[in-house]
Protein backbone atom coordinates (compact mmCIF):
# COMPACT_ATOMS: atom_id res chain seq x y z
CA UNK A 1 0.00 0.00 0.00
CA UNK A 2 1.18 3.47 -0.86
CA UNK A 3 0.94 6.41 1.45
CA UNK A 4 0.17 9.49 -0.61
CA UNK A 5 0.00 12.99 0.79
CA UNK A 6 -1.31 16.00 -1.09
CA UNK A 7 0.22 19.22 0.14
CA UNK A 8 -1.90 22.30 -0.26
CA UNK A 9 -3.55 25.10 1.63
CA UNK A 10 -7.01 24.29 0.36
CA UNK A 11 -7.02 25.94 -3.06
CA UNK A 12 -9.08 24.59 -5.94
CA UNK A 13 -6.06 22.94 -7.58
CA UNK A 14 -5.29 20.99 -4.41
CA UNK A 15 -8.80 19.55 -4.36
CA UNK A 16 -8.52 18.66 -8.03
CA UNK A 17 -5.23 16.89 -7.37
CA UNK A 18 -6.80 14.89 -4.53
CA UNK A 19 -9.70 13.84 -6.73
CA UNK A 20 -7.41 12.91 -9.63
CA UNK A 21 -5.24 10.66 -7.47
CA UNK A 22 -8.28 9.05 -5.91
CA UNK A 23 -9.84 8.33 -9.31
CA UNK A 24 -6.64 6.98 -10.83
CA UNK A 25 -5.96 4.71 -7.88
CA UNK A 26 -9.47 3.34 -8.06
CA UNK A 27 -9.26 2.82 -11.83
CA UNK A 28 -5.97 0.98 -11.49
CA UNK A 29 -7.09 -0.99 -8.48
CA UNK A 30 -4.20 0.25 -6.35
CA UNK A 31 -4.77 0.58 -2.66
CA UNK A 32 -3.67 3.95 -1.37
CA UNK A 33 -3.73 5.78 1.90
CA UNK A 34 -4.52 9.29 0.75
CA UNK A 35 -4.08 12.19 3.11
CA UNK A 36 -4.39 15.94 2.74
CA UNK A 37 -1.80 18.12 4.43
CA UNK A 38 -3.04 21.65 4.98
CA UNK A 39 -0.77 22.78 7.78
CA UNK A 40 1.62 25.28 6.31
CA UNK A 41 4.60 24.36 8.47
CA UNK A 42 4.16 20.69 7.57
CA UNK A 43 4.04 21.62 3.86
CA UNK A 44 7.16 23.72 4.16
CA UNK A 45 8.79 20.86 6.05
CA UNK A 46 8.80 18.92 2.79
CA UNK A 47 10.67 21.73 1.08
CA UNK A 48 7.71 22.57 -1.13
CA UNK A 49 6.76 26.16 -1.87
CA UNK A 50 4.57 25.86 -4.90
CA UNK A 51 1.39 24.01 -4.07
CA UNK A 52 -0.18 21.58 -4.65
CA UNK A 53 2.62 19.12 -3.99
CA UNK A 54 2.47 15.35 -3.87
CA UNK A 55 4.43 13.11 -1.50
CA UNK A 56 4.53 9.34 -2.02
CA UNK A 57 5.97 7.21 0.78
CA UNK A 58 7.83 10.19 2.16
CA UNK A 59 9.32 11.37 -1.15
CA UNK A 60 8.21 14.57 -2.89
CA UNK A 61 7.36 13.59 -6.47
CA UNK A 62 5.53 16.67 -7.65
CA UNK A 63 5.08 20.36 -6.85
CA UNK A 64 3.35 23.34 -8.36
CA UNK A 65 0.10 22.62 -10.13
CA UNK A 66 -2.19 19.72 -10.86
CA UNK A 67 -0.20 16.73 -12.17
CA UNK A 68 -1.39 15.27 -15.47
CA UNK A 69 -3.17 11.94 -15.53
CA UNK A 70 -0.34 9.99 -17.17
CA UNK A 71 2.05 11.11 -14.42
CA UNK A 72 -0.35 10.00 -11.74
CA UNK A 73 -0.74 6.67 -13.51
CA UNK A 74 3.02 6.17 -13.54
CA UNK A 75 3.11 6.67 -9.75
CA UNK A 76 0.55 3.97 -9.30
CA UNK A 77 2.45 1.38 -11.33
CA UNK A 78 5.79 1.95 -9.60
Amino acid sequence: MKTIKVLGTGCANCKRTMALIEDTAKAKGVEVDLEKVEDISAIMGYGVMSTPGVVIDGVVVHAGGVPDRSTVESWMSK
Binding site: C11, S50, D68
Partner: protein, 319 residues
Protein backbone atom coordinates in the same frame (compact mmCIF):
# COMPACT_ATOMS: atom_id res chain seq x y z
CA UNK B 1 -6.73 36.66 -40.38
CA UNK B 2 -8.57 37.29 -37.10
CA UNK B 3 -9.99 40.45 -38.56
CA UNK B 4 -11.50 38.68 -41.56
CA UNK B 5 -12.83 35.90 -39.34
CA UNK B 6 -14.55 38.51 -37.15
CA UNK B 7 -15.87 40.26 -40.28
CA UNK B 8 -17.32 36.99 -41.46
CA UNK B 9 -19.09 36.26 -38.18
CA UNK B 10 -20.31 39.71 -37.23
CA UNK B 11 -21.14 41.28 -40.58
CA UNK B 12 -21.85 38.40 -42.95
CA UNK B 13 -23.35 35.63 -40.87
CA UNK B 14 -25.16 37.76 -38.33
CA UNK B 15 -25.77 40.54 -40.84
CA UNK B 16 -24.91 43.33 -38.43
CA UNK B 17 -24.14 46.79 -39.71
CA UNK B 18 -20.40 47.56 -39.58
CA UNK B 19 -21.20 51.07 -38.39
CA UNK B 20 -23.64 50.12 -35.66
CA UNK B 21 -22.75 49.91 -31.98
CA UNK B 22 -23.65 46.25 -31.69
CA UNK B 23 -21.80 45.39 -34.89
CA UNK B 24 -18.50 46.98 -33.88
CA UNK B 25 -18.78 45.60 -30.34
CA UNK B 26 -19.39 42.08 -31.61
CA UNK B 27 -16.62 42.35 -34.17
CA UNK B 28 -14.24 43.40 -31.40
CA UNK B 29 -15.41 40.51 -29.21
CA UNK B 30 -14.95 37.83 -31.85
CA UNK B 31 -11.62 39.16 -33.05
CA UNK B 32 -10.08 39.55 -29.59
CA UNK B 33 -11.38 36.28 -28.20
CA UNK B 34 -9.98 34.24 -31.08
CA UNK B 35 -6.72 36.16 -31.23
CA UNK B 36 -6.04 36.04 -27.48
CA UNK B 37 -6.85 32.35 -27.12
CA UNK B 38 -4.65 31.42 -30.08
CA UNK B 39 -1.80 33.50 -28.63
CA UNK B 40 -2.33 32.05 -25.15
CA UNK B 41 -2.26 28.44 -26.26
CA UNK B 42 0.76 29.02 -28.50
CA UNK B 43 2.91 30.84 -25.95
CA UNK B 44 2.07 28.55 -23.04
CA UNK B 45 2.71 25.46 -25.13
CA UNK B 46 6.07 26.73 -26.38
CA UNK B 47 7.17 27.76 -22.88
CA UNK B 48 6.11 24.36 -21.56
CA UNK B 49 7.97 22.54 -24.32
CA UNK B 50 11.16 24.46 -23.55
CA UNK B 51 10.54 23.92 -19.87
CA UNK B 52 11.56 27.54 -19.66
CA UNK B 53 9.37 28.04 -16.64
CA UNK B 54 11.06 28.72 -13.34
CA UNK B 55 9.81 27.20 -10.14
CA UNK B 56 9.58 29.23 -6.96
CA UNK B 57 11.97 26.75 -5.32
CA UNK B 58 14.64 27.52 -7.91
CA UNK B 59 14.18 31.26 -7.49
CA UNK B 60 14.62 30.86 -3.75
CA UNK B 61 17.84 28.90 -4.16
CA UNK B 62 19.14 31.41 -6.63
CA UNK B 63 18.28 34.58 -4.70
CA UNK B 64 19.31 33.55 -1.19
CA UNK B 65 22.61 34.86 0.08
CA UNK B 66 23.05 37.33 -2.81
CA UNK B 67 23.81 41.00 -2.04
CA UNK B 68 20.57 42.91 -1.75
CA UNK B 69 20.61 44.80 -5.05
CA UNK B 70 21.47 41.68 -6.98
CA UNK B 71 18.93 39.65 -5.00
CA UNK B 72 16.25 42.17 -5.88
CA UNK B 73 17.09 42.34 -9.57
CA UNK B 74 17.14 38.54 -9.83
CA UNK B 75 13.93 38.19 -7.80
CA UNK B 76 12.14 40.58 -10.14
CA UNK B 77 13.41 39.17 -13.41
CA UNK B 78 12.85 35.59 -12.26
CA UNK B 79 9.46 36.65 -10.88
CA UNK B 80 8.53 37.71 -14.37
CA UNK B 81 9.17 34.22 -15.78
CA UNK B 82 7.71 32.33 -12.83
CA UNK B 83 4.09 31.38 -13.27
CA UNK B 84 2.11 32.89 -10.47
CA UNK B 85 -0.84 31.50 -8.63
CA UNK B 86 -2.10 33.43 -5.65
CA UNK B 87 -2.72 30.15 -3.83
CA UNK B 88 1.05 29.73 -3.65
CA UNK B 89 1.90 33.16 -2.30
CA UNK B 90 1.77 32.15 1.37
CA UNK B 91 4.21 29.23 1.15
CA UNK B 92 6.32 31.32 -1.18
CA UNK B 93 6.45 34.20 1.28
CA UNK B 94 7.38 31.89 4.15
CA UNK B 95 9.96 30.05 2.06
CA UNK B 96 11.68 33.31 1.13
CA UNK B 97 11.64 34.58 4.73
CA UNK B 98 13.01 31.26 5.94
CA UNK B 99 15.88 31.47 3.45
CA UNK B 100 16.85 34.81 4.95
CA UNK B 101 15.85 36.72 1.83
CA UNK B 102 15.07 40.33 2.89
CA UNK B 103 11.38 41.13 3.11
CA UNK B 104 11.67 43.99 0.62
CA UNK B 105 13.09 41.60 -1.97
CA UNK B 106 10.25 39.13 -1.35
CA UNK B 107 7.73 41.92 -1.81
CA UNK B 108 9.43 42.99 -5.03
CA UNK B 109 8.98 39.41 -6.26
CA UNK B 110 5.32 39.38 -5.24
CA UNK B 111 4.73 42.64 -7.12
CA UNK B 112 6.50 41.55 -10.29
CA UNK B 113 5.20 38.01 -10.56
CA UNK B 114 1.49 38.56 -11.27
CA UNK B 115 2.06 41.78 -13.23
CA UNK B 116 4.82 40.92 -15.66
CA UNK B 117 4.84 37.48 -17.21
CA UNK B 118 5.72 36.06 -20.57
CA UNK B 119 2.11 35.25 -21.38
CA UNK B 120 0.85 38.78 -20.75
CA UNK B 121 3.80 40.24 -22.66
CA UNK B 122 3.18 38.16 -25.77
CA UNK B 123 -0.56 38.89 -25.75
CA UNK B 124 0.14 42.57 -25.14
CA UNK B 125 2.56 42.68 -28.05
CA UNK B 126 0.13 40.76 -30.26
CA UNK B 127 -2.78 43.07 -29.49
CA UNK B 128 -1.22 46.48 -28.91
CA UNK B 129 2.18 46.15 -30.57
CA UNK B 130 5.72 45.93 -29.26
CA UNK B 131 6.10 49.48 -28.01
CA UNK B 132 3.34 49.45 -25.38
CA UNK B 133 4.40 45.90 -24.44
CA UNK B 134 7.99 46.97 -23.83
CA UNK B 135 6.85 50.03 -21.89
CA UNK B 136 4.57 47.87 -19.75
CA UNK B 137 7.41 45.47 -18.92
CA UNK B 138 9.81 48.29 -18.12
CA UNK B 139 7.22 50.05 -15.98
CA UNK B 140 6.28 46.83 -14.17
CA UNK B 141 9.88 45.94 -13.35
CA UNK B 142 10.56 49.51 -12.24
CA UNK B 143 7.54 49.56 -9.93
CA UNK B 144 8.48 46.18 -8.47
CA UNK B 145 12.02 47.37 -7.76
CA UNK B 146 10.99 50.69 -6.31
CA UNK B 147 8.02 49.25 -4.41
CA UNK B 148 10.24 46.77 -2.57
CA UNK B 149 12.79 49.48 -1.70
CA UNK B 150 10.14 51.87 -0.37
CA UNK B 151 8.44 49.11 1.62
CA UNK B 152 11.72 48.52 3.42
CA UNK B 153 11.71 52.10 4.75
CA UNK B 154 8.65 51.17 6.81
CA UNK B 155 10.40 48.14 8.37
CA UNK B 156 7.63 45.69 7.47
CA UNK B 157 9.32 42.90 9.48
CA UNK B 158 7.43 44.04 12.58
CA UNK B 159 4.12 43.16 10.96
CA UNK B 160 5.04 39.63 9.92
CA UNK B 161 3.03 37.06 11.89
CA UNK B 162 5.12 35.43 14.60
CA UNK B 163 4.61 31.84 13.48
CA UNK B 164 6.25 32.63 10.14
CA UNK B 165 9.65 33.10 11.78
CA UNK B 166 9.44 29.69 13.48
CA UNK B 167 8.82 27.58 10.42
CA UNK B 168 11.69 25.36 9.41
CA UNK B 169 11.73 24.50 5.77
CA UNK B 170 12.93 21.09 4.67
CA UNK B 171 15.55 20.43 2.02
CA UNK B 172 14.28 21.70 -1.32
CA UNK B 173 12.68 18.81 -3.07
CA UNK B 174 14.47 17.52 -6.17
CA UNK B 175 11.74 16.43 -8.50
CA UNK B 176 12.50 14.11 -11.36
CA UNK B 177 11.62 15.67 -14.67
CA UNK B 178 10.84 13.78 -17.82
CA UNK B 179 12.94 15.56 -20.45
CA UNK B 180 12.14 13.33 -23.40
CA UNK B 181 10.19 14.94 -26.23
CA UNK B 182 6.96 13.15 -25.35
CA UNK B 183 7.44 14.07 -21.70
CA UNK B 184 7.87 17.71 -22.67
CA UNK B 185 4.82 17.54 -24.91
CA UNK B 186 2.73 16.10 -22.07
CA UNK B 187 3.99 18.75 -19.71
CA UNK B 188 3.28 21.54 -22.19
CA UNK B 189 -0.25 20.26 -22.79
CA UNK B 190 -0.79 20.10 -19.04
CA UNK B 191 0.42 23.68 -18.67
CA UNK B 192 -1.93 24.88 -21.42
CA UNK B 193 -4.88 23.15 -19.77
CA UNK B 194 -3.95 24.41 -16.32
CA UNK B 195 -3.29 28.06 -17.19
CA UNK B 196 -6.04 28.49 -19.78
CA UNK B 197 -8.42 26.72 -17.39
CA UNK B 198 -7.52 29.25 -14.73
CA UNK B 199 -7.66 32.48 -16.72
CA UNK B 200 -10.19 31.94 -19.53
CA UNK B 201 -12.99 33.62 -17.61
CA UNK B 202 -10.87 36.72 -16.91
CA UNK B 203 -10.09 36.91 -20.61
CA UNK B 204 -13.76 36.61 -21.63
CA UNK B 205 -14.83 39.25 -19.09
CA UNK B 206 -12.01 41.52 -20.26
CA UNK B 207 -12.90 41.10 -23.93
CA UNK B 208 -16.58 41.72 -23.17
CA UNK B 209 -15.86 44.92 -21.26
CA UNK B 210 -13.45 46.00 -23.99
CA UNK B 211 -16.06 45.26 -26.67
CA UNK B 212 -18.76 47.29 -24.91
CA UNK B 213 -16.35 50.17 -24.45
CA UNK B 214 -15.27 49.90 -28.08
CA UNK B 215 -18.79 49.71 -29.47
CA UNK B 216 -20.83 51.97 -27.23
CA UNK B 217 -18.73 54.65 -25.55
CA UNK B 218 -18.57 57.73 -27.77
CA UNK B 219 -15.06 58.75 -28.71
CA UNK B 220 -15.75 62.44 -28.18
CA UNK B 221 -16.76 61.78 -24.58
CA UNK B 222 -13.61 59.73 -23.94
CA UNK B 223 -11.32 62.33 -25.46
CA UNK B 224 -12.97 65.11 -23.48
CA UNK B 225 -12.94 63.35 -20.09
CA UNK B 226 -10.20 60.74 -20.18
CA UNK B 227 -8.03 61.58 -23.13
CA UNK B 228 -6.14 64.70 -22.22
CA UNK B 229 -2.78 64.44 -20.58
CA UNK B 230 -3.43 67.94 -19.17
CA UNK B 231 -5.92 66.63 -16.63
CA UNK B 232 -3.49 65.47 -13.96
CA UNK B 233 -6.17 63.63 -11.99
CA UNK B 234 -7.09 61.21 -14.80
CA UNK B 235 -4.16 58.89 -14.00
CA UNK B 236 -4.75 58.64 -10.21
CA UNK B 237 -8.46 58.14 -10.90
CA UNK B 238 -7.69 55.27 -13.27
CA UNK B 239 -5.41 53.72 -10.64
CA UNK B 240 -8.00 54.19 -7.86
CA UNK B 241 -10.62 52.58 -10.08
CA UNK B 242 -8.32 49.64 -10.74
CA UNK B 243 -7.49 48.89 -7.09
CA UNK B 244 -10.77 47.23 -6.07
CA UNK B 245 -11.10 45.58 -9.47
CA UNK B 246 -9.20 42.44 -10.16
CA UNK B 247 -8.41 40.51 -13.25
CA UNK B 248 -5.60 38.40 -14.55
CA UNK B 249 -3.05 40.58 -16.40
CA UNK B 250 -4.02 38.97 -19.72
CA UNK B 251 -7.70 39.72 -19.14
CA UNK B 252 -7.16 43.47 -18.89
CA UNK B 253 -5.38 43.75 -22.21
CA UNK B 254 -8.53 43.91 -24.39
CA UNK B 255 -9.83 46.68 -22.11
CA UNK B 256 -6.57 48.54 -22.58
CA UNK B 257 -6.90 48.05 -26.35
CA UNK B 258 -10.38 49.57 -26.36
CA UNK B 259 -9.24 52.50 -24.20
CA UNK B 260 -6.27 53.27 -26.44
CA UNK B 261 -8.48 52.96 -29.50
CA UNK B 262 -10.76 55.69 -28.19
CA UNK B 263 -7.91 58.04 -27.45
CA UNK B 264 -7.08 57.45 -23.80
CA UNK B 265 -3.41 58.31 -23.22
CA UNK B 266 -0.91 55.43 -23.07
CA UNK B 267 0.30 56.23 -19.55
CA UNK B 268 -3.26 56.34 -18.19
CA UNK B 269 -4.06 53.03 -19.85
CA UNK B 270 -0.94 51.25 -18.62
CA UNK B 271 -1.40 52.59 -15.08
CA UNK B 272 -4.96 51.24 -15.10
CA UNK B 273 -3.75 47.88 -16.45
CA UNK B 274 -1.07 47.54 -13.76
CA UNK B 275 -3.43 48.58 -11.01
CA UNK B 276 -5.93 45.89 -11.93
CA UNK B 277 -3.35 43.16 -12.44
CA UNK B 278 -1.10 43.74 -9.44
CA UNK B 279 -3.41 44.97 -6.70
CA UNK B 280 -6.34 42.90 -5.65
CA UNK B 281 -8.42 42.22 -2.58
CA UNK B 282 -8.28 38.40 -2.80
CA UNK B 283 -4.50 38.53 -2.99
CA UNK B 284 -4.43 40.85 0.04
CA UNK B 285 -6.65 38.48 2.02
CA UNK B 286 -4.31 35.61 1.23
CA UNK B 287 -1.24 37.60 2.24
CA UNK B 288 -3.01 38.58 5.46
CA UNK B 289 -2.19 35.05 6.68
CA UNK B 290 1.47 35.98 6.90
CA UNK B 291 1.53 39.74 7.35
CA UNK B 292 -0.72 42.14 9.27
CA UNK B 293 -2.98 44.89 7.93
CA UNK B 294 -0.69 47.92 8.39
CA UNK B 295 1.88 46.36 6.09
CA UNK B 296 -0.78 45.48 3.52
CA UNK B 297 -2.22 48.99 3.62
CA UNK B 298 1.24 50.47 3.01
CA UNK B 299 1.84 47.90 0.26
CA UNK B 300 -1.35 48.99 -1.53
CA UNK B 301 -0.60 52.69 -1.03
CA UNK B 302 2.99 52.41 -2.25
CA UNK B 303 1.88 50.55 -5.38
CA UNK B 304 -0.95 52.98 -6.10
CA UNK B 305 1.46 55.93 -5.86
CA UNK B 306 4.03 54.14 -8.01
CA UNK B 307 1.48 53.35 -10.74
CA UNK B 308 0.34 56.96 -10.76
CA UNK B 309 3.91 58.24 -11.11
CA UNK B 310 4.63 55.78 -13.91
CA UNK B 311 1.40 56.76 -15.68
CA UNK B 312 2.22 60.45 -15.48
CA UNK B 313 5.76 59.76 -16.63
CA UNK B 314 4.67 57.82 -19.70
CA UNK B 315 2.03 60.43 -20.56
CA UNK B 316 4.68 63.13 -20.33
CA UNK B 317 7.06 61.37 -22.70
CA UNK B 318 4.63 59.96 -25.22
CA UNK B 319 2.64 63.10 -25.71
Amino acid sequence: MFDSFANLIAYQWLGLDANSHTGTALHFFVMDTTKIFVLLVAIIYVMGLLRAIFSAEKVREYVRGKPKWLARISAITLGAVTPFCSCSSVPLFIGFVEAGIPLGVTLSFLIASPMVNEVAVVVLAGILGWKPAALYVAAGLFVAYLGGVVMEWFKPERWVEDYVWNIQMGETAQIEVDTSLSGRHQFALGEVKEIVGRIWKWVLIGVAVGALFHGFVPEAWVVKHLGGTENWFVVPSAVALGVPLYSNATGVIPIAEAMLGKGVALGTTLAFLMSIAALSLPEMLILRKVIRWPALAIYAAVLAVAFTLVGWGINLFTR
